[in-house]
Symmetry: C2
Subunit: 311 residues, 2 copies
């Protein structure tokens, strides 16, 4: 049975790590602010799929105290990835697999450069969850993960044995998981949603339902999605009109929602701006695509992020 | 000596109308909210070019009480132009000239359709002034007007006798005024400033100096100006690189400044959105230009304007 290390015990790390431990896996949680709570009270997850409490968890506030793990799940905000160079080495054995549960594009090549002999998987989480207190996660809706193996320059790797094995562990823990053959394709598919809604929710101080209700911003959302499709095409990926139609319908059916970038903004935390907007833009531009509206969104978000952190 | 009617005694109408009366012209002021103050205390102008008080002014709160005028100066916000169909008829004699001191594009053709036998001039004001109380204007900087005659479809009219005569009146009142041959060219030149700074100040809650200090928004300002130049070209006008360079340098040298659109937004008043952004966009599109960033700015401002007026 594989041993899991969870880097960051926020909504994502707490929920999925909690599910794995609940299913009997040997899970080790790294946390900074929640260490005392996890030590004394354990981990509590209020979930639409059934609440659960883990009275005892293996929690650490220092990666150096953690054992080497078979699978290390990175569940930090992408803005904190600069800590990984220090955090990861004690956790990495010869056959450790890194699983990045992060949004955006361009995070894997950075880690691949730092840890060239480590297998890296990337995961996209389709989940509504938030940390509501120390060691206390509220899981509101969905839980699916799209998981795929990273290869140099995001070349498609297919369904590899380690990808299949880890997906099987997650599935055994009751988590809806989809093993995917092409990580970059999966990442662009999620960007169809993330770029317009994360970006505009911050710039226009708006929830998803408000953006959809106003005809001008509804049109802008579609324009941005069309540019994401152009960007994907410039990277050899394909966003079909059906994917866009599905995202729009899905968002209209959703409960009004503050995006993760908007939540970060309101808490005056750094935005995942480069992972979600800047890197995709640069990948698309290297492939020859010109994306004026995403460029403008990036420019506006850079301004707001800087002003927000200065206040 | 020509008789002037001033429609709207805010910062623009109060300042220029006050200067005309100070110089001895027969000036009649239409005002709504400031009627009692103008009747009892007259008009007070605190100006960088010298303060002055006009203890007695001819003020009206109903256009039907006003005499026909030789020149009717419209100094309302463009968002209030729907009142003009009712306001103007009593003021228009056979030889009355309308002078629109308003920003943006597309206001003259609407009035020309309503008053086909009236000569229309358009004026662009380069002035920092604000109303600080009833019948009390503060004039902070600049005062130049670019004035030109309107002709069907904005065809250039050259320097006509009536344009020259009215410019001479303004100059006699000590106002810096420039008679211009091509109204649409003058309007596009002002849009080089108005579209980026008015628009972004609202969307990003920012002053001009903050937009210039951040490299991302500084680049966005330049991108938007380049699109204004493309729009102008599609309308047969020319925005040279020198005009853009001058606008940027000028803005960098300016005192930090909240734009008129931002002031309207903060007072929860309707934005001059169609005059300043929507109409120029449509004129440019009819000429075949595609302006994605101005389109996006327009979409964002429509959303914010609607949300702002609803609150």
């Amino acid at each position: 049975m594989r041993r899991y290390g969870i880097i960051g015990t926020g909504a994502i790390g707490g929920y999925y790590g909690g599910r794995l431990q609940q299913a009997g896996y040997d899970v080790h949680f790294l946390t900074r602010s929640d260490y005392p709570a996890l030590q004394t009270q354990g981990l509590r997850v209020d979930s639409v799929f059934g609440d659960f409490v883990l009275p005892q968890v293996q929690a650490y506030d220092n990666a150096a105290d953690m054992p080497p793990c078979d699978v290390v799940v990175v569940a930090l905000k992408a803005t904190q990835n600069h800590y990984l160079a220090q955090i990861l080495p004690p956790l990495l054995g010869e056959n450790t697999t890194l699983v990045l549960l992060q949004n955006g594009l361009g995070v894997e090549p950075e880690l691949a450069a730092q840890f060239p002999s480590t297998t890296i998987l990337g995961g996209l989480c389709f989940v509504c969850a938030q940390k509501v207190g120390p060691g206390h996660i509220r899981h509101l809706d969905y839980e699916a993960i799209a998981l795929a193996q990273y290869g140099p320059h995001y070349a498609p790797q297919g369904i590899t044995p380690i990808l299949e094995a880890i997906a099987t562990d997650f599935a055994a823990a009751g988590i809806e998981i989809h093993a995917k053959p092409h990580l970059m394709q999966s990442r662009w598919e999620k960007l169809v949603w993330n770029i317009p809604y994360n970006g505009l929710s911050v710039v226009l101080n708006a929830q998803t339902d408000q953006l959809m209700a106003n005809p001008a911003t509804r049109a802008l959302v579609e324009d941005l999605m069309a540019e994401v499709a152009q960007g994907a095409a410039a990277c050899g990926c394909e966003i079909t009109p059906a994917i866009i139609t599905k995202m729009l319908a899905h968002t209209e059916a959703m409960t009004p929602y503050l995006t993760s970038m908007k939540l970060d903004y309101d808490r005056q935390q750094p935005l995942e701006l480069e992972a979600i907007v800047g890197n995709p833009l640069r990948f698309a531009q290297s492939g020859g695509a010109i994306l004026p509206k995403i460029t403008m969104l990036h420019q506006q978000l850079q301004f707001l992020n800087t002003a927000n952190l200065r206040n």
